[in-house]
């Protein structure tokens, strides 16, 4: 749309026109008024000038009168009055010259008058001077000369007619006086005649010069008078006449001008009137046109379009949209209406389509629901499958391990024994792998719960060491443990912490070929009142590159494929460690150098335990001890020393050479012998003998790998031995024995040594025949009579029949017909029997234990059944 066709433009143009008209009118009026004002001023000015002209005329006439008076009387008053009048005329002329509205002609006249006046003034002055000069010439010159001449004539000797001459001179004088009175040339002539008569008479006499002087003097006087008369009679009146003429002309001129201006002012006023009327008429017409235009072109279209829009907004049907062809804003509105209309149609279409889409969506959602259910079902199935698999794999594994365990105990040939050991080992590894996978799956599925229970740190570490030291020994690696001195108990998930330490240690051992592994446990109080358990596992293994360190904790990650091939393993170990750490609000990190070794560090936040064992020697008693070592600075010596120092023991380091001297000094003493390969070579039989004397309390400290050294050096087996690796707990109990100090922990250790003396009848509820056999064998090996039920139903039946026939029930959890939990519930609730029930399950997970307790079981052990655990249970219920 062209801008010029827009309503904005058209309306603006109309407004602009009206505005311009009004402005022009206002401007013109203003100008007219200014013009009128100016005209008024001009008229006033002209009137003023005319008046001044009158003043001028009268002044000039007055001036002439006064000059005439002066001429006649030489009156000073008249000349003063004349000068005043000149000033007055000058002032009047200056006033005219300064008038605001002066025509060029008036200015010209004034200028001329001013010039005339200047001349007049000058000439008047000259005339006044001339008159004075006339007086002076007569009084001071001519009269003096005549009087002198008269005197001289009288004094003249020998001349005839002196009296006549004197008379002539007197007559000449009279002629002068007459001339002065009348200014008649006849008197001049008379004077000259008299003078020439006298001159003739006194020719050639000295006095003649006097007469010449008189003649010259009068001539001068005569000329002066003429000049004066010329001014007063000719010049001054001529000038005055001109001024008079000009002033009267000026007056007339100004009067005429005033008249003309008055007429013109009238004309201007009437033309102004006419013009303003015209403008008003024009404005009215323009406004009417503008209003008509507004109604026809704007308001009525807007009204109809408004109605149209109303229909459109109510989504009513519209037949025809008007004004579409207009190119102005109305046209745009129509276009907008048409767009609106089209949009309405489109919206309706869209609505239809949306409805269809919603229906489709609903169907899709239904499908999705089905799929989701299927997926959930699948997950459930997978979990079930996993659980089943776990059970199905563990059950035979239990059988195998149990049987192997049994086999170990039987009388076998050395070769068979070796085979059995390997089977046992392999089974263990297999079980560990299976457990790893299961654990990982559980963690992945978020089904792993972390327990918070009190546990004994030392005991946990002992178990760990028992496991890992064997492995290390197998690879001929050293394994050292540094454990905390003060603290014995913590709150946390013992199983998982064990798992972490085991994984890290096994990992270290696995990747170390030379040297060994050092496990450092330390505890620190945190600022929040918790205990930070710090576990460091340092090895001297193959190490890792920085790159590998970054993803070593990722699942299924080993340094490379070749690593995996070389060292085997699932690659899940460290991933599990990491996840367990995170589950326990802890962290794990690694610091490693390729080919130098790695250090894994774990920080766990644990809580203080309420139970606290005193694992320290009492203070105040002088516990002195000698350490016999080849190398005072080796690691083992340092660990020992640090433990001893923690117990405030006095340490005396000895080497072999000092041994004999020492022995001679002290009658009795406590001694730690650090038996290693070097020591074994240095020790002589006499030394051994010396050490094994009665007054020496000896404890041999040796590496688990080097147990053969004991026999080699000839130390009897019943001697106190501290095998490396050892925990502080172990060290403490051994050192107590050495110092013959009775500590609480010694009792427990002694108990385990006691051979079980058990009596009772046990009901084993177990569906698996192999497991039945293994358990039966184990129990019978402990001297217990066992009855077997195939499933929970059978067990319940048996117990219904003979409720008091059994002293203890081992109840498998997963069984056909009736599972262990149901059976237990039945026994407790229906049969009301209090017989101790111990759950058996391949599920090593903690929730199983909780579940078991909740169902009324008294205890729970996992399969494969470990002898020591079995013993502990039996001891508890049958001992």
């Amino acid at each position: 749309m062209s801008f010029y066709r827009s309503l904005t433009f058209q309306l603006s143009l109309g407004l602009l026109c009206i505005g311009a008209l009004i402005l022009t009118s206002a401007y013109l009026t203003n100008v007219s008024y200014q013009l009128l004002e100016q005209r008024d001023d001009e008229i006033a000015s002209a009137a003023q000038l005319a008046e001044t002209g009158y003043l001028l005329e009268s002044s000039v006439i007055d001036l002439q009168r006064n000059v005439l008076i002066y001429k006649q009387s030489a009156s000073v008053a008249a000349i003063n009055r004349s000068n005043e009048l000149i000033e007055k005329i000058q002032a009047a002329l200056a006033e005219i010259n300064q008038a605001s509205y002066r025509s060029e002609e008036a200015v010209d006249m004034v200028t001329r008058m001013q010039n005339h006046l200047t001349d007049y003034k000058e000439n008047l002055l000259v005339a006044v001077n001339g008159r004075e000069k006339r007086q002076a010439l007569y009084q001071n010159d001519l009269l003096v000369l005549i009087n002198a001449a008269q005197k001289d004539i009288n004094n003249e000797q020998g001349v005839e007619g002196k009296t006549a001459a004197s008379l002539q001179l007197t007559k000449a004088h009279n002629a002068v006086l007459a001339y002065l009175m009348t200014q008649n040339a006849a008197h001049v002539k008379e004077f000259n005649q008299h003078m020439s008569t006298i001159r003739a008479q006194f020719a050639k006499r000295p006095i003649a010069s006097q007469f010449n002087a008189i003649s010259m003097s009068f001539r001068r006087l005569h000329q002066t008078i003429r000049g004066y008369l010329y001014l007063t009679n000719v010049v001054l009146p001529g000038t005055a006449n001109e001024i008079l003429h000009l002033s009267s002309r000026l007056r007339v001129y100004e009067e005429q001008g005033m008249q003309a201006k008055l007429v013109k002012a009238k004309e201007v006023t009437s033309s102004l009137q006419a013009r303003s009327e015209l403008f008003i008429l024009l404005s009215i017409v323009l406004v009417v046109i503008y209003a008509a235009f507004l109604i026809i072109r704007v308001i009525s279209p807007i009204r109809s379009l408004t109605a149209l829009f109303k229909r459109l907004s109510n989504n009513l049907h519209v037949e025809h949209i008007p004004y579409l062809k207009r190119e102005d804003e109305i046209g745009q509105l129509s276009v907008a209406a048409s767009v609106f209309h089209n949009k309405n149609l489109q919206t309706n279409d869209l609505l239809e389509r949306t409805k269809e889409l919603v229906i489709e969506q609903k169907e899709l959602n239904k499908e999705l629901e089905v799929k989701r259910n299927e997926a959930e079902q699948a997950t459930v199935s997978k979990s079930l499958f996993l659980a089943n698999m776990s059970h199905e794999i563990r059950t035979p594994m239990n059988g195998i391990i149990g049987l192997v365990e049994l086999l170990k105990g039987s009388n076998l040939a050395a070769e068979q024994q070796e085979c059995i050991d390997k089977i046992s080992y392999s089974s263990g590894v297999l079980l560990a792998v299976i457990n790893d996978i299961l654990d990982f799956s559980k963690i992945e599925a978020g089904k792993l719960d972390i327990e918070e229970k009190e546990f004994a740190l030392g005991k946990m570490l002992d178990n760990v060491l028992a496991s890992v030291s064997l492995r290390a020994a197998e690879k001929n690696l050293y394994f050292r443990c540094i454990s905390p001195v003060g603290l014995t108990h913590l709150v946390g998930d013992e199983v998982r912490i064990t798992q972490i330490i085991l994984n890290l240690c096994n990992n270290a051992i696995k990747f170390t070929a030379l040297g060994g592994v050092e496990l450092r446990i330390s505890v620190n109080d945190s600022a929040t009142g918790e205990i930070i358990l710090n576990i460091d596992v340092e090895d001297t293994g193959i190490g890792m590159t920085q790159e590998h360190q970054n993803d070593v904790f990722e699942q299924f990650s080993q340094a490379d494929v070749s690593t995996s091939r070389r060292f085997g393993g699932t690659g899940l170990g460290l991933a599990i460690v990491k996840q367990l750490c995170e589950l326990m609000n802890g962290s794990v990190s690694v610091h490693s150098q390729k080919d130098k070794g790695s250090t894994f560090s774990v920080f766990l936040r644990l809580k203080h335990a309420t139970e606290r064992a005193q694992h320290k020697l009492p203070e105040g008693q002088p516990f002195a001890i000698s350490i016999l070592t080849c190398n005072r600075s080796n690691k083992t010596t340092q660990i020992l020393a640090s433990y001893l120092k923690a117990n405030k023991c006095v340490i005396n380091y000895l080497n072999i050479k000092e041994l004999s001297e020492k022995k001679q000094q002290d009658k009795s003493c406590c001694m730690l012998l650090l038996l290693d390969h070097e020591m074994s070579q240095q020790l002589t039989i006499s030394d051994i003998a010396l050490l094994q004397r009665d007054n020496v309390d000896l404890c041999v400290v040796l590496d688990k790998r080097d147990s053969v050294l004991l026999t080699r050096v000839g130390i009897s087996k019943d001697i106190l031995v501290l095998e490396m690796p050892f925990t502080y707990g172990t060290f403490y109990s051994q050192i107590c024995k050495l110092f013959k100090y009775d500590s609480g922990g010694e009792q427990a250790l002694a108990e385990s040594e006691i051979t079980l003396n058990l009596q009772g009848r046990v009901l084993l509820v177990e569906d698996n025949a192999v497991n039945q056999m293994v358990a039966e064998k184990l129990l019978s090996s402990l001297g217990l009579e066992t009855d077997i039920a195939e499933d929970g139903r059978q067990a319940v039946d048996k117990l219904s029949n003979t409720p008091y026939a059994y002293d203890l029930i081992f109840m498998d959890v997963q069984m056909p017909v009736m599972d262990g939990f149901s059976a237990t519930l039945f026994i407790r609730n229906e049969l009301k029997l209090e017989t101790p029930i111990c759950g058996l399950s391949a599920n090593a997970m903690s929730e199983d234990f909780d579940k078991a307790i909740a169902h009324g079981m008294d205890n729970f052990i996992t399969k494969p059944i470990a002898m020591d655990k079995l013993k502990a249970v039996l001891e508890q219920y049958l001992g």
């Binding site: 001329r112 001349d119 005569h222 003429r226 010329y230």
Partner: protein
């Protein structure tokens, strides 16, 4: 008369042309033998006079030529005369017309001029030496200038030759009246044109006369005589009774409002005519040139009764002595050296030694201005404007013819004292 400079004269825009003209004059002067000495010290010569000869172009040229400084004080003739008569120490040189000589000489304001110091004395023509421009010419009534020239032993002035003169004869001319041909039909020179026109009834209220008894009185006397209103026994020496009769007649005319005014300066006379205040008036020739230059068709009449002649005089102040006097002599000699004569010739004036001026005029100029021949081509005036159209003829004819027809000279008559009284009564 006022000291108003000639309005048509030399205004700023025309200086360039004047300079050119002056330049030509200098070249010519240098080509000629330049007898005057250039003083080493610049002396200032104060010149008192009227606008007729005190023109800026002349001043510029003279300063350049002489190396002296000139101070021009142009004033109205009455003022000039009064000032000179009362204070000779206020000027060095005086320039006016011959009717001021008696006044100045007998008031002791001027000193005699040595003939021998005037380089061109011998070239000065007969008009001032004998009174007749040519033997056949009439002398003209009144104070013919030659009668006042020579200083006598008894310090009176007469035509008797002596070594001293009262004035340097230089510029002169004949005057008459001018009339506007838009109103008055042109007359025939020397035949129909008459002084009597000034008193024609039909021009009542449109007539002006110069306000000077020594000049205007003769215009009116000639007019009255031409009209046959009265006769004068000697128009150059009108008696008191004749004056009484004349002014009786004139006052009647005045009563009827015949005279519109009495002008006191040339510019004023120009204005009178230009503004239509008058259609006929006594005039000086520059006014006629000016009016013609402004397209006011004015004819300068050649009256059959003859002209009123006037002669310019240059007088030496009695107070001027020494080096300034020498410089004054230099200036007097310069005036007769040709260039100034040619310059004023172009304004219609004549010089006392025309032959030297001729050297500075073109033939056409000489022919027109001096010989009274038709202009061979257009002639420009001193203002560089066209002043004479081709084929125009100067009214009154040649220099000789005009000066052969002088009816009366501007004269201070014995009845002058009385005429002043009558004049006053007439104009008041």
């Amino acid at each position: 008369m006022t000291g108003k400079p000639l309005r048509y004269g030399i205004d700023q825009g025309k200086r360039k042309l004047l300079k050119q003209a002056a330049g030509i004059g200098v070249c010519a002067a240098l080509g000629f033998k330049a007898p005057y000495v250039f003083a080493k010290k610049t002396y200032t010569v104060r010149v008192l006079g009227t606008h007729v000869t005190l023109q800026p172009a002349l001043k510029e040229q003279a300063q350049k030529d002489l190396g002296i400084n000139l101070e021009f004080e142009p004033r109205g003739s009455a003022a000039v005369l009064q000032k000179a008569a009362m204070a000779p120490e206020s000027f060095d040189l005086y320039e006016q017309w011959s009717n001021s000589i008696n006044v100045l000489w007998y008031s002791g304001s001027i000193q005699p001029i040595e003939k021998k110091r005037l380089t061109y004395w011998d070239e000065i023509n007969a008009l001032t030496k004998t009174g007749r421009i040519q033997p056949s010419a009439g002398i003209g009534a009144g104070d013919a200038p030659y009668k006042l020239l020579h200083v006598q032993e008894d310090l009176t002035l007469s035509d008797a030759q002596s070594d001293f003169i009262s004035y340097l004869p230089y510029v002169h001319n004949v005057d008459s009246f001018g009339y506007n041909t838009q109103v008055i039909k042109p007359g025939v020179p020397y035949e129909t044109e008459s002084w009597g026109w000034l008193l024609e009834q039909q021009y009542r209220g449109k007539v002006a006369v110069v306000n000077a008894p020594t000049i205007g009185l003769f215009d009116l006397a000639l007019a009255a005589q031409a009209q046959g209103l009265m006769r004068f026994s000697n128009i150059g020496n009108i008696t008191n009774s004749e004056l009484d009769q004349l002014f009786k007649i004139l006052s009647e005319f005045k009563q009827q409002g015949h005279f519109s005014g009495f002008w006191t300066s040339v510019p004023e006379s120009v204005d009178f005519m230009k503004s239509n205040r008058v259609v006929i008036e006594s005039m000086f020739s520059p006014a006629v040139s000016a009016l013609n230059g402004q397209n006011v068709p004015v004819i300068y009449a050649a009256p059959k009764e003859g002209y009123r002649g006037w002669h310019g005089v240059m007088c030496l102040s009695s107070a001027t002595q020494g080096s300034v006097k020498d410089a004054a002599y230099d200036y007097m000699n310069w005036w007769l050296s040709g260039w100034p004569g040619a310059f004023i010739a172009r304004q219609g004036y004549y010089i006392s030694n025309p032959q030297r001026a001729k050297n500075f005029l073109s033939k056409a100029e000489w022919d027109y201005w001096y010989e009274g021949l038709p202009a061979a081509h257009n002639l420009t005036g001193t203002d560089g404007k066209l002043s004479v159209k081709k084929a125009e003829v100067r009214t009154g004819g040649s220099y000789l013819k005009r000066f052969s027809n002088v009816a009366v000279w501007n004269t201070v008559m014995p009845s002058y004292d009385y005429s002043l009284q009558k004049w006053y009564e007439f104009i008041s």
